[in-house]
Every structure is written in C-alpha cells, then in structure tokens.
C-alpha cells in the first residue's frame, strides 16, 4: 500500500509509547496506549504501516461506544463496608451480572436477547416485539435540537435494523437536565442554559418522532444540577416483527447495499467523541442534523422489501457509520467495499471520512445477487437512494478500495477481537445509612410540604412536553401518558399501553411500556438506586394492568469517568443489583446500553455526572380491555394502600425540600412486591380494581393527591390506618412522604371489597379511606391531631404551574 492524495500511510511501526499516545490524541482516536500497541504489533506482523483509513476504522470499531470495553473488560473490584473488604475480579461485568441473569432465567419467550440491535420477546404465535433504548448525551449538550433528533432517529433505526426489520410502534424518551430556573450567570461559560437545552431537546424529539409517525408515549424528566453541563438524553423505540424475520444471515457473495441518506462530513468521530469529556472547545463536526423524512421513506420501503424477502440481513449506520455497519454484518464472512461508490452529499471527503462518517438515515443491507435489480427498483419507486457499494466475501478480511487503490486490508478477527481487554480498578465504599431525626410537622407544614412536593421539578406535570408529541398517531395508544375520566385529561399515567390492531388484525393483546429512574438515590447508594429503578419500572407497568410474569427490562447506564475506581465501583454495585433483582423478580434483561465518560470540566476542574441507571420495561398484555388508569373513578369507592410503608426518606423529595440529613434509601423487597404485583394483575382481570397508581417520588401524599386531582374528586384518608413497619414508630410526615418501594394505591368499588380482600389475603394492605363527594382532599390522623385539607383544583394547579411554559 502506498500513500496517495486520498490515503496516507501512518507510520507507527517505530513509534515510542509516548509518540503512540500523541498520535491517538492528535487524531481524536481515543485509543489507549495498550490499544495503540496492539495495533502496532498487528502491523509489525504484516510488515507494513497502516493507512489512515485502517487506523480510523480500528479506532471506530474499538471505541467505547461500539465495543463497551469497560463493561466487558476486566474489573478488579473491592467493596469496603466499614473495616470489611470484599474483593472480586470480573472478567466481563456484563456477562457476569445482567446477561447472566437472563441466561439463568432462560425464558422461552425471549426470542433474541443481547445479540442484535434490540431485544425481542414474543408477542403472539406469529410476532415478536422489539425494544431498544439509546443515549445521545454529548451531541445534545452542544446542539440540543439536532442532538436529540438524531438520538431518536438513531434508536428508530435500531428497530429497523433488528432482525430483518421491525415496524416501530412507539417511542419513549427520558431526559436528565440541570435546573431550568438557574440564573443565567450561574451557567458555566460556553454551556447552554438548561432551559434552552430542555426546549431544544424536546423540540428535537418532537419534530423527529412526529414526522416519523411514531407516537412518543412514555418517558420521564429528571432535574439535577449535576446534569447542567452534561444532560442525558435517552431515546427508546419499540417495534413489532414477524417471528420469521428475526434471524439475519449474511452469505458470501451477497451484495452490500447502502440505502437512505447521503454521506457527508457530519458526525465524524461521533463514536470516539462520546468517550471524551465535554468542555468549551468540543469538536463541532461531531454534531449531526437529522432528516426524518428520509428515514420515513426508508422505513416505508424497507418493510415492503422485507416482506418480499429481497434481502438476507440489515443493520443501521449508527456510531462508526459504514465502518461499524459493514464490519458487523461481515464479521463472519469478510467484505470488500468500493468507497467511491458511496453516494456523497458533496465532494471532497477523503476515504476514511466516507468510511466512518456518521451521516444520518442510512441502512446497510446484504442482498442476494438475484434480487439486485428488484430491490433497487422498489426503493427508487419512492425516491429512496439505494446504491451497491461492495460485497460480502469469504476471506474473513475487510478490504476497502478507493479509485482502484486498496486502502484497507485487515483481518475481521483482528478488527473485532483484537482489542486488548483493559483491566480497571473499581472500589466501592459502602456508606452507612442512618435514620434521620424524627421529622415532626404540623398540619400546615404538611400542607406546605405537599404543595412543594407536587411543584417539585421531579414530580410536577410534564404536560408541556407530552402534548408536543403526537402520542396518538397510529391510533394504538390505548393507555395514554396523560389520564383522566373524560377527554380533558392531565393525570400522570404510570405506563403506556399500545394496542397494535393495525398491524396484527384481530388481536386483543397489547404492549406495555414503562420506566424507572432515580439518580437521587444513587448519590447515596447505587445498589438501591438500581434495585428501586427496576421495581419502579415494574410497578408502573403493573399499575395499568400488566402481568409481571410477562415483563422484560432494558438497562441504560449513564456514568462518569470509569477510569476513576470509585465511579466504576458504584457502577459494579448497580450491575450487581441488576442481577439480584432480575433473578428475584424473575424478569429478564433483553437489551441494554451504556454511556460512560459523562464528565465535563468547568474552569479546569473535572466533574462526573450523578450516576443514572434507566430501567425501561416492556411486557405483553393478554387483553387490552383489562387495563386501567390512575384517576379516581367514583365517589364512595374505598381506597387501599398495598404494601408496607417503611421509614425510608433517604434521597426522597421531602428530604430535598426540607433539607433533611440522613435517612434510609428505599430498599427493595422483591418477594413482598412480586406477590402484590401478581395479585393486582389477578384483581384487575377480575374487574375488582377501579383505579391504581404507583407510589414513588413524594410518597403516599403525592400519589393519593394525584389520583384525586386528576379526577377532580375529593378523598378522605385516615393516616392512622396506614400499615407501617413496626421497628420504629413513624411520624405522620414520615408516613406520608416516605418513598418505600412495593406500594400501590388502589380504588375499589364497595361491593367488590370482600372479593378484593380475598385476593390480597396474606399480603400487607391497609384500607385507608374513601373517595369523597365534597371535593376535598383530606389526610387525617386523629391520634396525632393532624388534619390536612386541600382542594383538588388547587393542587392540580400547583402541580401544573412549575412547567407551564
């Protein structure tokens, strides 16, 4: 190989360690010394220097974003509890925790897990449903609109690229931002104001999702100043796929077809960029702008081509562009690509730029030669560009050709398995949690705290966001994100249910989507944060009528710099919680993703974000008619609290508002919780529950108030009737605002009370009150002479006013 105008030889054979590192830094390769040395050794064996195309290809393929080196690498973990130290070595953290649980649970309805672009579970005898959640954090910090739009665009392509392509049915979005009310002068130099980021990110998801015709039906927003300079943008897509289209297989001789958008300089180094901390001078070419209509056209036609069996495999161009997509498909065969055949937006791209560009809206197909003409015709008919750029071979090599010059020739095996496994140290010093001093509050203080909780950014209504998304397109959203008893609705639904009747004609089944996230807990205890997130996601789904035995979950880790042992240690603990809870709840993980290196610098000082584990849940519902919403339905109905209320205020909304030090972070008791979840499902299917709401942030006071004001009804609650843990007596404020897991609030028609109680026999539940006909929300403890009284209308306004932009 020789240097030409378009392809340069990179001399690395004789470089010293220092020079190797310098090369990595200068070219934004994000490769470590060990990795650079592995490359050097490989080319020493080949007795030649690599080309720039080869170096860039390796950097992309080995990037944290594509390879997940940290979580699949070696981790030497030490857990310190007081003076006790426990050591453990992980060869591959993912395989030994999250994936291990899935393998051990071995559910036969898990059709494709942890191997494709999304996880797939069984929907019915003929179809599967696929779900994937991705993050797109760094681009969203720089260009909120473009960043989040390409985030949602990318995860939709994951669903198009699962198996032979699924039809997207719904999107989810979860964001973490800094406080939008921050004074402008407090925003670090060079960063956008959090409110601008919120508005930009929401518009980006809105414009892309709406134009794609996919309803955004579920989500969450979390505000914490730790995300001011490094917001988190999680986007998810769920789709439906015929069971016989789940497997893909590339044969040698298959042609490589690139479809959709043209290739430009956009997003060069996106994959390696995501492993670099953000600062004022972040790279501008990493920003991509999406074009949803191009992607929509691809979606429309590719599903037709799929049904005509015109191709054998497909994947999306995500991080790493063609390099990753072709590399992935050709891993077992080999591939030759003619780079000058790739359609370009404009001239002047060098071969390596063409190969790793992250231009949006592109998919790569493996097409048997006999279908060559037909597949291009069908795309052309709807004005979609589709161009053959090469073929899959059987030499197990990656060969790239540009203007008749071979610019890359490497073994697929080296490319995919040659990355040295790093060894990282992880330490976790488990903080001992202490109970807070008893929180004593008067009636009026409780009233105030209730209003403050409802107005809190992490509890308040997100209607401003939800309404901008077309959450009803496709006509299949039967349990909606905003709920009420008429059409003028605003209550916070726990989960969304999609009834895919336009795709699966005659079906009665539905698909539930929900999520759980609470970084506040993670500041104290990442194990409990992870466990709580898993339970919350399941509780949310169960509250609308899901069968916990038919649930699956996804993990999305957003963490700080994993090179810091304490940060990695907190991640190991969270991963352990994932294993434990997955096993205990008997709920498998089916897919996941991690985004590490969420670190930013202000004034030369580096900060990592508060760790965030998003758990997204998906399940199949037997009969969508048996689903319920959370607003109270009728005066006179009885209110029950299911589960035990414990003294768990650590990381709670009340602790934040009242600045309470100490407190126990909510624990998860999977056995107790699961028993309750199973019985709720039974009771809902016997029509014994009128409304049900998950109890989480803000505790019972918030959850019960939400059920009341969403229905514009009153409710009378006897606080003394709420069953609490008996170890220590709890104050009224603690009972009302504790965020113990495992609790639901349900409304029961008086005539059904007996049957209802029968079902919940032997679990902890308390009958706490009834729906009031005088439109007053009342919490009363005669024992403690506490009486809190509020109007539903007032509380609704308080809850709505925070984000009423």
């Amino acid at each position: 190989m020789k240097s030409t105008t378009n392809c340069k030889i990179v001399k690395i054979l004789d470089l010293s360690d220092k020079q190797l590192l310098e090369l990595s830094r200068k070219n934004v390769l994000s490769l470590s010394l060990e990795e650079m040395k592995a490359i050097q050794n490989y080319f020493k064996k080949l007795k030649r220097n690599p080309t720039d195309v080869e170096i860039e290809t390796i950097a992309q393929t080995w990037s944290e974003h594509c390879k997940h080196k940290t979580l699949t690498g070696v981790i030497e973990y030490t857990e310190e509890k007081g003076s006790q130290k426990v050591r453990r070595t992980y060869r591959n953290l993912l395989k030994e925790t999250i994936f291990k649980a899935t393998v051990e649970l071995n559910k036969k309805w898990c059709l494709s897990v942890f191997k494709d672009n999304a996880g797939v579970i069984e929907f019915d005898s003929k179809n599967g449903v696929a779900f994937k959640v991705e993050t797109h954090n760094h681009p969203s910090a720089l260009e909120p609109y473009g960043g989040s739009a390409t985030g949602i665009g990318g995860v939709i392509r994951d669903i198009l690229g699962v198996g032979l392509g699924a039809k997207p049915l719904a999107n989810t979005d979860v964001f973490c931002f800094g406080n939008p009310n921050t004074v402008a002068s407090k925003v670090p130099e060079g960063m956008h104001h959090p409110k601008r980021i919120v508005k930009g990110v929401v518009s980006g998801v809105r414009d892309y999702g709406n134009r794609m015709g996919i309803p955004t039906v579920n989500g969450a927003v979390y505000f914490d100043d730790g995300y001011m300079a490094n917001p988190l943008v999680y986007c998810g897509t769920m789709g439906i796929i015929p069971k016989n289209k789940i497997e893909k297989k590339v044969n040698f001789g298959d042609l490589i077809l690139v479809v959709g958008g043209r290739t430009g300089r956009d997003g060069i180094h996106g994959a390696t960029f995501s492993s670099i901390q953000l600062d004022q001078e972040s790279d501008v070419t990493a920003v991509q702008i999406g074009n949803p209509i191009v992607e929509k056209k691809v979606l429309d036609v590719m599903l037709k081509a799929r049904n005509l069996n015109l191709y054998r495999a497909v994947t999306d161009c995500g991080a790493g562009g063609l390099s990753s997509a072709v590399g992935e498909l050709g891993e077992k065969t080999g591939a030759v690509v003619y780079l000058n055949k790739v359609p370009l937006k404009y001239q002047g791209l060098s071969p390596w730029e063409i190969w790793i560009s992250e231009a949006q809206e592109r998919m790569v197909f493996a097409v048997p030669p006999k279908n060559k003409k037909k597949i291009v015709e069908i795309f052309k008919k709807e004005n979609v560009e589709a161009v053959f750029i090469g073929e899959f071979t059987k030499d197990k090599k990656l060969t790239l050709i540009y203007n008749n010059d071979v610019v890359t020739s490497m073994d697929m095996k080296f490319l995919h398995d040659g990355v040295p496994k790093p060894t990282r140290l992880a330490v976790c010093k488990v903080k001992e949690e202490k109970e807070q001093k008893p929180v004593k509050m008067t009636s009026s203080e409780i009233s105030k705290a209730l209003r403050a909780s409802l107005a809190d950014l992490n509890v308040c209504s997100k209607e401003w966001i939800i309404r901008q998304y077309d959450h009803e397109v496709q006509g299949q959203t039967v349990i909606k994100p905003l709920q009420g008893n008429d059409i003028e609705v605003s209550g916070p639904g726990d989960a969304a249910v999609i009834f895919p009747y336009t795709v699966v004609r005659g079906t009665k089944k539905g698909i539930v989507l929900s999520n759980g996230l609470n970084p506040q807990y993670g500041k104290i205890n990442t194990y409990k944060m992870a466990a709580s997130a898993i339970e919350e996601a399941l509780r949310n789904a169960v509250a609308v009528g899901s069968d916990v035995e038919k649930m699956s979950i996804l993990d999305n880790f957003c963490w700080g710099n994993p090179n810091k042992p304490e940060i990695l240690g907190s991640l190991v603990r969270a991963a352990n919680a994932c294993y434990d809870m997955s096993k205990a709840f008997d709920v498998p993980f089916i897919s996941g993703k991690d985004s590490l290196h969420n670190e930013y610098s202000i004034g030369g000082k580096k900060y990592s974000i508060p760790p965030a584990l998003l758990i997204s849940a998906m399940g199949v519902i037997e009969n969508v008619a048996n689903t319920i919403t959370m607003p109270l339905k009728n005066n006179g109905n009885k209110i029950f609290v299911l589960g035990i209320t414990r003294d768990e205020l650590g990381g709670s909304v009340l602790a934040k508002i009242k600045n309470i030090k100490d407190g126990i972070v909510p624990n998860v008791y999977p056995k107790e919780s699961k028993e309750i979840m199973k019985r709720i499902y039974k009771a809902i299917n016997k029509n014994l529950i009128e409304s049900c709401h998950d109890c989480s942030e803000g505790g019972l006071a918030v959850a019960i108030s939400e059920m009341a004001f969403s229905a514009d009804r009153g409710v009378k609650i006897d606080i003394d009737a709420i069953k609490t843990e008996t170890i220590r007596s709890m104050t009224i404020a603690e009972i009302l605002f504790s965020e113990s897991n495992g609790r639901f609030i349900v409304e029961v028609y008086p005539d059904n009370e007996e049957k209802f109680q029968e079902i919940f026999n032997c679990t902890v539940f308390s009958k706490v009150g009834y729906v009031n006909d005088d439109k007053k929300i009342i919490f009363e403890s005669k024992k403690n002479k506490i009486k809190v009284q509020e109007d539903p209308e007032t509380l609704l306004k308080v809850w709505q006013s925070t984000m009423n932009w």
Binding site: R211, I293, E382, Q468, V473, Q474, Q483, D486, I487, T502
Partner: protein, 261 residues
C-alpha cells in the same frame, strides 16, 4: 354486494395510512395505499376507486408550510384528474395533513373553483399539540348540511387532534358567510356542553372554531381531528363509545362506504 374501493394517497412523510386503512376496512371497504409516484405514472388509476383519502402525517416534512409541497405536486401533476374525480361526487376525505392539502390545492371549499381561497395556518399557541377535543356537529337531518360523511353523529363528539397548523382562515367575510349559509362548517371545536370553547378546547384559534368543512355538494370533507384514531371505544381516554365496542370516528368512514354502496 358491491366492493367499495378506497385509495389512500401516500407520499414521503405520510403517517396515518395504516390506521386510516384499518378504519375503512373495518367498515367493509377494500383499501389500497398508493404512492403518488404510481398515480403520476398511471394517471387514470385514480378512477378505479370509489373513495379517495388524503391521510394525516407530515408530507415532505411539512417544510415551507403544512401540506404545501404535496398540494402543489398534486395540482401540477394530477390536477385535472383529481378535479374530475371530485366533481364526479365520489367521496373524498382529507384528515389533518390531508385537510391542509385539500385546502391549499383548492379542492375545498369548492372543487369547481379549484383555487386556494382559505388556509390552515399556525396555531395561535405556535405549538404542535396533541389532545382530545369536543366537536359540535352539523348534520344533514338537522341543519341540512349535504355532508355525506357526518350523518348519524351525535350533536357533540370527541376526537383527537395533533397538529401545529390547524387554524382555519377563509380569505374573506363573504366566503365565511357562504360556508355558514350552506352548512359547510360541519365540525366546530366546542365545550362539552356545546358552548364556545376557550384554549385548549379551542386548540388553534380557528375562525368561528372551524375544525372541519365540506364542499357544497357534501362529498368532499376535510377536518383537522383524526376520526381514524377513534374507531374503537378502547381508543377513547375514558374508553367510551357506542355499542360497547366502537368509537364515533367509525361512523364517518361507515357513512362514506354506505354512500358508495
């Protein structure tokens, strides 16, 4: 029995084709979703069909203005065919983006004129919004509207809307008067009790709360709300409907299918 053939026009950015197809099929029609390129290629293909539907979505991204590029394309490339179809009294429906297309190309309010004399502009809120609204209906029986699509509906129904450009504006008072006089304003945004609504029940600030109109003959119907999203009671926020199973949107599609039969 006669097969009722429905054509749903598709192009880049069409979204609501699946559910519109499902709605027509539920009412017994045979449906084909046809890409505009196919119609441009086979210009008389449209006459194989009894009903024409312009579905919702974001045709060509709604770039420039909602429905603008598609309305120009149809008018410039297939104008005479579509006009002929419209004047043959066959049912045509335009939902949301489809309504915008019908208005901007001029098939509504009057296909004989075939000129844009009204528009659907940005919501007063300048926001895209998705919500359910109440609609006051004017029906053939009561108000002698000719609209074949809205027969047998109750006085007030609810449907979902999802748009950023739904504010109906006629070009002058005279047109507004004649729309009123001819009972062409078949849907108006309303309060639950039928009184004049305020935002958000009046979601966009349309002149006289106009949500849907038909031509004088009553075969062409355009509306911003999405009846195809309410063919089952299950789709209603409170699961309300008729016959325990269906949503009121179904009636609209049924009317057209029955009309052809």
């Amino acid at each position: 029995m006669k097969k009722v053939k429905t054509l749903i026009l598709r192009t880049a950015g069409t979204n609501c084709d699946y559910e519109t197809q499902a709605a027509f099929e539920l009412c017994g029609a045979v449906v084909e979703c046809v890409h505009i390129n196919t119609l441009i290629e086979k210009k008389d293909k449209i006459f194989e069909y009894d009903i024409l539907a312009f579905p919702g979505g974001f045709s060509y991204g709604d770039d420039i203005a909602s429905g603008k590029i598609l309305s120009n394309e149809v008018k410039n490339k297939l104008g005479d065919k579509f006009k002929k179809f419209a004047l043959s009294d066959k049912p045509i429906i335009g939902i949301c983006n489809g309504f915008q297309v019908l208005v901007k190309m001029g098939l509504l309010p009057e296909p004989k004129l075939f000129e844009q004399i009204s528009t659907l502009s940005y919501n007063d809120s300048d926001k895209f919004e998705c919500r359910w609204v109440y609609l006051k209906t004017e029906k053939k029986v009561k108000n002698e509207s000719n609209c074949i699509w809205t027969k047998n509906l109750p006085d007030i129904i609810s449907l979902s809307i999802a748009h950023g450009e739904g504010k109906f504006i006629p070009n002058n008072k005279k047109l507004l008067n004649s729309l009123n006089k001819n009972n062409q304003i078949v849907f108006r945004y309303s309060s639950k009790d039928g009184s004049k609504p305020e935002y958000p029940l009046d979601p966009n600030g349309s002149i006289e709360q106009i949500a849907g109109i038909c031509n004088t003959k009553g075969n062409i119907f355009g509306l911003m709300p999405h009846p195809e999203r309410y063919v089952f009671a299950l789709q209603h926020p409170a699961k309300e409907g008729f016959d325990g199973e269906y949503g009121w949107g179904k009636i609209i599609f049924q009317n057209a299918v029955d009309f052809v039969k």
